[in-house]
């Protein structure tokens, strides 16, 4: 069988010269599932991955912030019996503890809200139930974060 046949087919001899040359290239077969200009853009972002990562990062920070908070509020200096308006005023006089509490508030609320979002997604089977429970969750979360932030920033030790 000669490669110079006028009706060159793709099937050449097992050994020997290829039927294709620079002037007669082999047809290109596109790789399966390759992204091309015709492939539709994905409609999903990385939200779930970012949320997963946030749970781990905020978790590590919260371990330090919350256990420090528990030590100060419940263990040192007579535990819970010392807490009162004067004690709060003394601590929030320092920007260090203001930042500590603000960071703890934001991270704990977002960490908890995302946790409860996962729980709702797992157990609420009807789409409508999920919608309402998450609406309630997000409303309560935004309200609580804003209220707590406002209280830390506008605290007035001489309110009376």
């Amino acid at each position: 069988m000669s490669t110079t046949e006028s009706t060159a087919s793709g099937i050449g001899p097992v050994e020997g010269a290829s039927v294709y040359t620079v002037d007669n290239p082999a047809p290109l077969i596109e790789a399966p599932r390759r992204r091309t200009k015709k492939t539709p853009k994905t409609t999903r972002g990385n939200f779930e991955m970012v949320a997963w990562l946030f749970m781990r990062l905020s978790g590590v920070v919260l371990v330090v912030l919350v256990i420090g908070h528990l030590l100060i509020q419940l263990v040192l200096d007579g535990g819970v019996s010392k807490i009162g308006f004067a004690f709060v005023a003394g601590r929030w006089a320092s920007p260090f503890w203001q930042v500590w509490d603000l960071l703890m508030l934001w991270l704990a609320m977002l960490h908890g809200a995302n946790g409860l979002r996962t729980v709702i997604n797992d157990y609420a089977e009807r789409a409508n139930t999920r919608l309402w429970l998450k609406g309630l969750l997000y409303t309560a979360t935004v309200f609580t974060i804003l209220l707590g932030t406002l209280v830390i920033f506008t605290f007035d030790p001489n309110i009376r």
Binding site: V60, G84, T144, L147
Partner: protein, 126 residues
Amino acid sequence: MPAGTLYRGREGMWSWVAHRVTGVLIFFFLFVHVLDTALVRVSPEAYDKVVATYKSPIVALLEYGLVAAILFHALNGLRVIAVDFWVKGARYQKQMLWTVVALWVVLMLGAIYPVLGHAARELFGS
């Protein structure tokens, strides 16, 4: 109720269940805690009045329960991070859980006096 709610039992599943339950409890406490602290913006009297109820022996017991939930969630959370990011994490997840439980027991024993001491003094006198 979906059928077959028991997944595999044993350490992996039960630590996951406990992590969920403690997480939800802590989150609900957090709402209440931000609200009660917000009373410092109302008046010192309003805040001190509510905090006074936190010093009663029954609430001291609830505080001990809160500490128990937070310590478990914190320690087991670090274990979850180790399972996810440490190459041998999944292989040692059981050993890590029992380490978490042992640490938790030690810390809870240590918390008895600081958290429940004032309640005991109030109940039985000092």
